[in-house]
């Protein structure tokens, strides 16, 4: 073994910085990744996207008072709420705003039979099997998940739609159910109206912990 110096004195400082610095660095990295995972960049909450037609829920729901089910026809019967076929748009727009440039993609779709291609705003991962109909029948207002669409000129994702957010209701469903008319944009759950939400749940059935089981949403 030779006695030659392998490291310069500076190496001590460097190694100390590395050793002591790595702890806060790891903490910062962890905090940053947790923050990132919850950020709206990741969840895409409150972000607007380019759509083929700048459809305004504010105008159609808030202004004209069209019921959700007029376009989202299968919301009470199916997992999927349904997207209106071009024909639904044309029921009115074959008469109204016939010359509007904004509506040209709709007219073209009706003319050519090529469907409109909307970009999904409220999108759950493919391994989550959300069912609209059962939530509607439990009296969960549309606005619980979709926000006040009657105040949205362009559609945006109103909630984070993270699993933690879903579990918030599934853990304590009572305050969120039992709305008399879930389709009313301003609908309030039963508890908010001073009713007995516990009774609502019991009369309909499931023991509560069931709602927290994996197989409820994942298959």
């Amino acid at each position: 073994m030779s006695s030659r110096q392998l490291f310069r004195p500076r190496a001590n400082t460097v190694s100390r910085i590395v050793v002591y610095g790595s702890v806060p660095l790891c903490l910062v990295a962890a905090a940053w990744s947790i923050a990132l995972a919850r950020s709206s960049w990741r969840t895409q909450q409150d972000r607007f996207v380019q759509q083929p037609v700048p459809f305004s829920h504010e105008h159609h729901v808030g202004g004209l008072g069209i019921d959700c089910r007029y376009c989202h026809t299968s919301v009470e019967t199916s997992a999927f709420a349904g997207m209106p076929p071009t024909q639904t748009c044309m029921t009115c727009h074959s008469q109204l705003w016939r010359q509007a440039d904004m509506l040209e993609p709709v007219r073209r779709s009706a003319r050519t039979g090529q469907p409109l291609r909307w970009t999904r705003v409220n999108d759950l991962p493919d391994f989550v099997y959300f069912n609209h109909s059962v939530h509607i029948h439990r009296g969960v207002p549309c606005s619980t998940c979709h926000g006040r669409v009657d105040r949205m000129p362009l559609m945006r994702q109103a909630r984070s739609l993270a699993m933690q957010w879903c579990l918030g209701c599934h853990e304590h469903p009572s305050p969120h159910i039992g709305a008399a008319n879930p389709f009313d944009p301003a609908a309030r759950p039963a508890m908010a109206l001073g009713k007995h939400p516990r009774a609502v749940l019991d009369s309909r059935g499931d023991p509560l912990p069931r709602l927290l089981e994996c197989s409820i949403c994942h298959r």
């Binding site: 895409q44 199916s78 999927f80 349904g82 076929p85 469907p115 909307w118 391994f127 029948h137 023991p207």
Partner: protein, 998 residues
């Protein structure tokens, strides 16, 4: 120079002496020692790659660090923005997200249909179920129908018309057709020949009739590799008119099957399997149980389920039938069987038949010569079985208008009398018998056109090829084994250009394809002859909705035995030497389903082979030839020779018989089906299509790895698949060893508080081992096919497997046992999962959370039933295109598509439970029994699987579980499975000397 063994020994000694740090140094030195590495490579060549591809410590740390960093980086992404594409005009009655069901019919091979319900999701057919209203289905389905959606979306289907391999437009085909039409029209059809498979379609029959009256010189030939001609001929000889027998197993107390596989091979097998299983269901010890005698010339499902089995040569079956006829007094003939075992079996059967006249049934296999059928008819007539357990109907696939089979066509082609040949939905270049030079004759035909689903062998040899339409894309009609007709309706618009079979006939006759629906409606308008248009529309829509045309069953023929029937009985002598049996394959049939990965990977019943066929031989013959599984042998028959790998069958397999399944060795099937197995057609002659005699076999060089999923069938003393004797059952024995008491357990008591408690019970007495449950599960649950190489590594993904277990004192009997996840209440898999991906829900499901799974595989290691499957590779083509991955269109949208590195398993079809639960919540009621039927139970032909809620005492599963046959698999482990079994029953006739002497 020391030998490698000495070098290794020296290092061993040195390592044994070293301790502590010196030991580590020695190891380090050993790893770097070239002499030692060389010696190790020499001694263990199969592990050479370990030394050659060395990974040092530095490299290992690099890889570890990189994978850690990349797994973190993978999380730093956002979900891609997806598109929502609504309809422009919503189809009537469609609710997005709710599947629609359409009734139609599918036929195995060409002619004998069973009704199916096709589930379509947003217009995509994704799953097939049996149609409970259809007599041939009774709610069950076969493996081919389960794979039909995959076939529909097969990217390798023929997509365009071609001429000599170059793509042409369909109008070019029409122009060419018009030119040849002019030629034959002028000559009353002379030179025109149409070759189709055998067909039961009333529309096609009507069109052929029209064709022949319009063009009297035109010829129609029928080529069906797996046909029933000897059945029809046998009835013609016995009764003086062609007919087909159909059987009623519910009334038959004694069944004698002479080489007849009515559970698998015969038309009507689904309904026969159900009736047979129902007749021996016996949940209670007072219930009656039928008795099955089976003589078999190869391994069959019927033989496996038989109470009395006899393994014989196929040519000995005639002798058996003769002797049986003598014992029953049908014919008079002094000879007795020279074989003691045969004689005993025959006497037992004869005594039983005698005692159950009118409640018995004798039947023989479709492949047996007509003479045997004559004898069997005479025996049934003598026993008074006609009108009770058996009846005769007109042949379902009427070929009386045809001008013969492929042999007749070849003769005509050789004479140069065929100018224009249409080969519609047939593949004769591949499936022609070895003695017919069809391909060569075809090259001399001036105008040859092939229409088929694939660019197959015949397409390659024909000038013109036009894509055919899939059964899900077109209008047609078809009959079932009992004559019941179904209208075949499209469930999706045609994916590719092409014409359906009725349109082809219209094209040939009129020059234009016309509208397929109009042609089919025309047939039924003529058949029903309705008084008013409204009546026709009503019947038409009723037939479409129910999937079967009301009251269309064929009427029973009332015929007496022909006076001269005895003249047709033959005194054939069993052949010396070896015999070669050709069988239809359980997965590819006659070869037409070869390009389906699901079917190729479905373990064949009894052998559990996947991806190819093999020559089945007896163990005695294997010893003689000195071959082991996979070794090549050369088979010589009638001047034709073929090299095939062997598969050795258990001891009860007939010693002098070789069996080779048809349908393999395709050369132009597609990427999946080409070059899988060997083609039995190369040994098959038109003189003896089902049986080769005086076959020579010798071992040759070569070995193929055969991918079997069950490597041994012995239970090694463990009572996995249980069987009881009927006597024991009647006397009150129980299958369960614990006498119904709960065994003590070290696991904590778990509080289950669900509203439902799902459970499944599988009746081993009803299971016929066909494997439809496996493929039905695959279709429902998006289970990938993995390919032969992966199956050889034991990586098949099936969530439910069908084990065949050898039971009995000498291991000579077989009990089939479907094994899905047991959904243990105390699941060993759950205790070992580090990330809680394997968890229980309150309804008793042991659920697998794919998103949590990190792929440690501890759960599979700890599972005593070995029902968990791991995605070793990206089988579903999630990251990169995989040739075996099913197209996205065929995926069930209700089930997650698992990616690489994830463990998966049976979940009792949780998606079906969820759908029913949500519906019941909306309607504020309890889930009804019939609402949740897992895919395996729904498809099962013999109703061997029942599923239900253990908390609702009125469900069928309770009656099953109350039976003395009920037991729990590996109950002693204390896992408390929710899936349980009913033991099989063997109803052997007690041996009394009286029977044997008389």
């Amino acid at each position: 120079m020391p030998t490698p063994v000495e070098i290794i020994q020296a290092w061993r000694e040195r390592l044994a002496r070293a301790e502590g740090a010196a030991y580590c140094d020695a190891l380090q030195e050993a790893a770097g020692d070239r002499v030692l590495c060389g010696a190790l490579q020499e001694v263990m060549p199969e592990l050479a790659h370990v030394w050659q591809r060395r990974i040092d410590r530095r490299r290992l740390l690099q890889l570890l660090g990189a994978s850690l960093a990349m797994s973190g980086a993978a999380g730093c992404s956002r979900a891609p923005r997806e598109k929502l594409v609504p309809y422009t005009a919503m189809p009537e009655g469609l609710v997005p997200g709710i599947p629609q069901t359409w009734a139609t019919a599918l036929s195995r091979g060409g002619s004998y249909a069973h009704g199916v319900l096709v589930k379509t999701h947003m217009g995509r057919p994704i799953k097939v179920e049996g149609n409970p209203r259809h007599p041939a289905s009774r709610g069950a389905s076969d493996a081919f129908s389960q794979a039909a959606p995959l076939e529909l979306f097969d990217p390798e289907r023929s997509r365009a018309c071609t001429r000599r391999g170059a793509i042409v437009s369909s109008s070019a085909v029409l122009r060419a057709l018009a030119a040849v039409r002019d030629r034959w029209s002028a000559r009353a059809g002379r030179g025109l020949a149409v070759l189709t498979g055998s067909t039961s379609s009333p529309t096609l029959q009507r069109q052929v009739h029209a064709l022949k009256s319009q063009l009297p010189e035109a010829r129609w030939y029928v080529h069906e590799p797996i046909d029933r001609s000897s059945v029809i001929e046998g009835a013609a000889l016995a009764f003086g008119r062609p007919a087909e027998p159909i059987y009623d197993f519910t009334r038959a107390r004694v069944v004698v099957a002479l080489d007849a596989d009515f559970l698998d091979a015969m038309p009507g097998h689904l309904s026969y399997a159900r009736a047979f299983a129902d007749a021996r269901r016996a949940l209670d010890r007072h219930d009656s149980v039928n008795r099955l005698y089976a003589a078999q010339s190869t391994a069959t499902l019927v033989g496996a389920r038989a109470d009395h089995r006899l393994s014989v040569k196929a040519t000995q079956v005639n002798g058996l039938a003769r002797r049986l006829a003598v014992l029953l007094g049908v014919i008079d003939d002094g000879t007795s069987s020279h074989d003691q075992e045969h004689e005993r079996w025959l006497r037992l059967a004869a005594a039983d038949l005698q005692a159950h006249q009118g409640e018995a049934l004798v039947l023989c296999g479709d492949h047996q010569p007509a003479a045997v059928h004559v004898l069997v008819h005479a025996i049934n007539e003598k026993l008074g079985n006609f009108g009770r357990t058996i009846r005769l109907i007109d042949p379902v696939a009427d070929a009386s208008r045809s001008n013969g089979d492929l042999r007749a066509l070849c003769a005509r082609m050789a004479g140069g009398a065929v100018d224009a040949l249409f080969m519609l939905d047939v593949n004769p270049v591949y499936s022609a018998q070895a003695d017919l030079p069809f391909a060569e004759l075809l090259s001399r035909v001036p105008f040859a056109l092939h229409s088929g689903l694939y660019q197959d062998e015949t397409a390659g040899a024909s000038e013109w090829h036009v894509p055919a339409q899939h059964a899900f894309e077109t209008w047609s009609d078809v009959r079932a084994f009992d004559g019941s007709a179904s209208i075949v309706q499209p469930v999706i618009a045609p994916l590719y250009p092409g014409w359906s079979l009725p349109q082809w006939l219209a094209l040939i006759m009129k020059g234009e394809p016309g509208d397929a629906m109009g042609i089919v409606r025309g047939t039924w308008r003529a058949l029903w002859a309705p008084a008013r248009d409204r009546d026709f529309e009503r019947r038409w829509h009723e037939s479409l909705a129910s999937g079967v045309v009301d009251k269309s069953q064929s009427a029973s023929l009332t015929t007496a035995l022909d006076r001269n029937w005895q003249a047709h009985v033959q005194r054939s002598v069993p052949s010396e030497g070896l015999e070669l049996r050709f069988t239809a394959d359980a997965s590819v049939w006659d070869g037409r389903y070869a390009n389906s990965a699901w079917l190729q990977e479905l373990p064949r019943p009894l052998t559990s082979l996947t991806w190819g066929n093999a020559l089945l031989i007896s163990s005695a013959l294997a010893r003689e030839l000195r071959v082991v599984n996979g070794d090549h042998v050369s088979v010589e028959h009638a001047g034709h020779e073929l090299t095939a790998p062997v598969w050795i069958m258990p001891t009860d397999y007939p010693r002098h018989t070789l069996t080779l399944a048809l349908g393999y060795g395709r050369t132009r099937a597609g990427e999946i089906g080409t070059d899988v197995g060997v083609s039995a057609y190369r040994l098959r002659t038109s003189a003896a299509p089902w049986l080769g005699t005086n076959v020579k076999v010798r071992a040759v060089e070569g070995h193929s790895a055969l991918a079997a999923v069950q490597l041994h069938h012995e239970m090694h003393g463990r009572d996995l698949a249980r069987q009881m004797t009927l006597d024991g059952f009647t006397a009150g024995a129980r299958a369960s060893h614990s006498e119904g008491n709960r065994l003590p357990s070290l696991y904590p008591e778990i509080d289950r508080h669900g509203r439902y408690a799902w459970g499944m019970t599988i009746d081993l007495n009803a299971c016929i081992g066909c494997g439809v449950c496996t493929i039905a599960c695959q279709a429902e649950n998006n289970i990938p096919a993995v390919g032969k190489a992966q199956v050889l590594l034991g990586r098949e993904m099936h969530w439910i497997r069908v084990d065949s277990n050898r039971v009995g004192d000498r291991g000579e009997e077989t009990v089939f046992q479907p094994v899905p996840c047991m959904q243990c209440e105390r699941a060993p898999c759950e205790y070992v999962c580090p990330v809680e991906a394997s968890v229980h829900d309150s309804e008793g499901l042991n659920v697998q959370v794919y998103n949590r799974c990190i792929g440690t595989r501890d759960c599979s290691q700890n599972c005593p039933y070995k029902v968990r499957r791991f995605n070793w590779l990206d089988y579903n083509g999630y990251e990169r295109e995989q040739p075996l991955a099913a197209p996205a269109a065929v995926m069930n949208p209700d089930v997650t598509v698992r990616s690489r590195g994830v463990m998966e398993k049976c979940t009792y079809c949780v998606q079906r439970i969820s759908r029913a639960r949500i519906q019941s919540k909306i309607e504020e009621r309890t889930i009804r029994e019939e609402e949740v039927i897992p895919a395996c139970a729904a498809a099962c032909p013999s109703h061997a699987i029942v599923f239900g809620d253990l908390l609702q005492s009125d469900q069928e599963i309770h009656r099953w579980r109350g039976s003395a046959r009920h037991y729990v698999l590996l109950e002693e482990l204390g896992t408390r499975p929710r899936t349980t079994y009913l033991a099989a029953l063997r109803n052997s006739k007690p041996l009394d000397d009286e029977t044997l002497k008389s």
